[in-house]
């Protein structure tokens, strides 16, 4: 039976991962296809990458997206870390239940609703839509993801360390930066990365919140896809996939390195 089970397991793993990875692999392979037709292989070529860098619309959108993602991820990380501290450390206060709800609700909220409601707010407040409205929209949903990631690390952190520092006369703000922050830093960085990729990916919320001059890359890709599959879009997608993969590999190597070092100091 063990033999048969493992045969079954190998098959299900193979099919499962083939399903997850084949579409992405095919996309990457065809971005190097010389032919304009998606199903005809015209030989290996990087011409679509060349054309991509000539395409001003896409390059502008990429630059907008990079700035939006950087600014929104940074602010969302600060706000999300504060929210995590509130959730784990600060105990009861008036309105805490509402706060909990507001942290978890955006995680399950359909994007169309978040996008629509933010747009209506911007219109009601008379905000000119553009770069900053997209940034605000992205901060609002990604700070909740950051809060959840940081919270899970903060729960396991031994609070007595910080208390000891305070008993020795260290002010609370300083003890946080000197003791707690270095320990939760990996989670804070992971939160930043998550916020960055969420912002990089978002189409629906950005479509509602955007205005003239703030077309992000997903909005641009989406409008191109509606016109039909083009090899240039395959090339953009491949570059995005490569960037994200690079980021994740770097992050996991860094965390492995840190763990090895920690083990060495302990052992």
């Amino acid at each position: 039976m063990n033999q048969r089970m493992s045969w079954f397991n190998v098959t299900s793993l193979t099919f499962g991962f083939a399903f997850l990875y084949l579409p992405i692999l095919i996309l990457i392979i065809y971005s190097f296809n010389d032919s304009r037709l998606v199903t005809v292989w015209g030989g290996f070529s990087t011409r679509w990458y060349g054309e991509l860098f000539q395409n001003e619309g896409i390059m502008d959108a990429a630059w907008v997206t990079a700035r939006v993602a950087f600014v929104s991820a940074t602010i969302a990380t600060i706000l999300g870390t504060m929210a995590a501290i509130v959730l784990v450390r600060l105990g009861r206060f008036r309105g805490r239940t509402l706060f909990n709800g507001m942290i978890y609700a955006p995680l399950v909220m359909p994007e169309v609703i978040t996008g629509l409601s933010l747009l209506l707010l911007f219109v009601a407040m008379g905000f000119a839509r553009g770069f900053w409205t997209v940034v605000i929209a992205h901060i609002t949903f990604s700070m909740c993801y950051v809060a959840v990631v940081v919270q899970s690390r903060l729960i396991t952190f031994d609070e007595s360390l910080e208390e000891a520092a305070q008993d020795l006369g260290c002010p609370p703000g300083r003890s946080f930066f000197a003791i707690t922050l270095p320990v939760i830093l990996p989670a804070v960085l992971a939160g930043w990365m998550l916020a960055f990729t969420l912002s990089l990916d978002d189409l629906v919320i950005a479509s509602f919140a955007t205005g003239p001059g703030a077309t992000t890359l997903p909005i641009k890709i989406y409008s191109q896809i509606r016109l039909g599959v083009t090899p240039e879009i395959n090339a953009v997608c491949t570059i995005l996939i490569a960037l994200v993969a690079l980021g994740i590999i770097t992050a996991s190597l860094a965390s492995k390195h840190r763990m090895m070092r920690a083990r060495r100091t302990v052992g």
Partner: protein, 306 residues
């Protein structure tokens, strides 16, 4: 916790900043959605009436308030387009959830029975596609599913499809199912894996030693122990799938009705802000039932773990 930190402006500041942000940019917008869903459409900017203007004094405010109406909701109830959108969203999300379970279960099972040293890598491999853009992953399927696409080519090559025929999958509900299952599979696999990995393998061995056939042992031991994972996975796929916009829009046909897409069209194509607000309010009401049920379920799980 030290009493010193319980008071003081530092604590208040740490609470106030994220609290205010969420109040202004998360809660207040909902109040506005509800309010606009009770307004009438107008050819103006913003395109709805009445617009509250407190500078006109309270008299005018009350007059505006009395102009609010439930007309938009009556309109939604009267037009089969909206009711069908809601029903079809629930149906498509339900079918996709079931399919994701059927595909995700063997995968999670295989992962949980893989050698220990493989498991972190397999976990990573399930999470990794999740970090790549949702839009890109949906787009990748267009090239595969379209009539002159790779799946047709593949079927013709292995001979199950004659060279003159083409597969008609893109722009049908089948393509939407594939898209949802593909995009949300990690959500299904991870909780299933967590439940199956905790399971004690010796239970199955004991059943086998006592003469229980493998299939029966699977149904009477493995499946019941995996139930928490199955429930969590189903909720995590079903809830976001109901409000999905990108997948039905890119992979579905013109007759694929999903509520997220209806809302989008109502807003961007018809520019009817009051009706799209009403659609949003009702979508939220539809989703509150599964969301609250899921929260309740998770709380019970956490209590059971302690």
């Amino acid at each position: 916790m030290s009493t010193r930190r319980k008071s003081g402006w530092g604590r208040r500041l740490v609470i106030a900043v994220p609290y205010l942000w969420l109040l202004v940019f998360f809660l207040a917008p909902f109040a506005i959605v509800v309010r606009i869903s009770l307004s009438e459409v107008a050819i103006a900017m913003p395109p709805y009436l009445p617009v509250f203007d407190l500078s006109q004094g309270f008299e005018a405010f009350w007059q505006d308030l009395s102009a609010l109406s439930f007309d938009n909701y009556a309109w939604l109830a009267g037009d089969p387009l909206y009711i069908n959108s809601y029903l079809s969203s629930l149906w498509i999300a339900g079918v996709s959830t079931l399919l994701a379970l059927l595909i995700g279960f063997p995968l999670a099972y295989g992962m949980a029975r893989a050698p220990h040293s493989w498991r972190p890598i397999l976990m990573m491999a399930v999470i990794l596609p999740f970090w790549t853009s949702f839009l890109i992953r949906v787009y990748a399927w267009i090239g595969i599913l379209k009539p002159e696409g790779l799946l047709t080519l593949f079927a013709q090559t292995i001979g199950i499809l004659s060279p003159d025929d083409q597969l008609r999958i893109l722009n049908t509900n089948t393509a939407v199912y594939i898209g949802i299952v593909y995009s949300y599979l990690p959500f299904m696999v991870l909780p299933l894996y967590a439940a199956l990995e905790r399971m004690d393998a010796s239970l199955l061995e004991a059943a086998q030693d006592l003469g229980c056939p493998p299939l029966k042992a699977f149904w009477s031991i493995t499946v019941p122990l995996a139930v928490p994972g199955i429930i969590a996975g189903c909720f995590l796929v079903f809830i976001p799938a109901v409000g999905e916009f990108v997948i039905p829009d890119l992979l579905g046909g013109s007759d694929t009705l999903m509520i997220g897409r209806t809302l989008w069209n109502e807003f961007f194509n018809n520019r009817d802000w009051p009706v799209s607000s009403a659609v949003a309010v009702l979508l939220l009401l539809v989703l509150i039932v599964p969301i609250v049920a899921f929260q309740h379920f998770q709380q019970r799980q956490q209590e059971a773990m302690r």
